[in-house]
Symmetry: C2
Amino acid sequence: MSKTDLKIRLKIELPDGVRLGYGKIDLLRAIDREQSISAAARSMGMSYRRAWMLLEELNRSFASPVVETRMGGAGRGGASLTGTGMRIIAIYDDAQTRANEALADQLRKLADELAGDVSPPTEEGS
Amino acid sequence: MSKTDLKIRLKIELPDGVRLGYGKIDLLRAIDREQSISAAARSMGMSYRRAWMLLEELNRSFASPVVETRMGGAGRGGASLTGTGMRIIAIYDDAQTRANEALADQLRKLADELAGDVSPPTEEGS
């Protein structure tokens, strides 16, 4: 098992106890891909109801909705991300990348404490 | 509601699906404070069983145990953090601080998208 496996998963605390983590971000990404909330939920093994609840949390948190839905005949509607939804994914991805860069040192120190280390002890000056 | 409320909560993915987040870190801190696993669990509104499970996950993940327990007469044992436990808290705290610094820009951009913004739109060149 490689010590370089360690990765950050960011959770950002929004006001009113709402959290923005990669679960919600992955849901937004799936909606963008599937152009449908139900297909997105299905692709994530998530109930439609749960997907709706997560989207409602996001819609309440942000100034504009993150997803827009289109009504269609016989339930054949669709959904797509709004500009806000797109920007939130981009900001989160950027933050995630920067976190893994900025915390490389801490992740390495933590990796040094892990079980299964077969490498010789490294010099640690500080 | 202040826009400066946004904060990072780090979750670090350890091997084998174990996650190190502030829940486990808070438990370690409580054990250090209470010098007892059951008192620590109680202070967090957590069952003893759940506290044990979280500690077991950590003990399996790291090369040495994070907590050591002392047997005592009539169940009056105690627990304290090991050096590993102490170091893990320190690394996590350090990572948490650095993340909030390193991601200040992204957090600000995200805050700009939040509902309840009464400030005028800011110039965003990129």
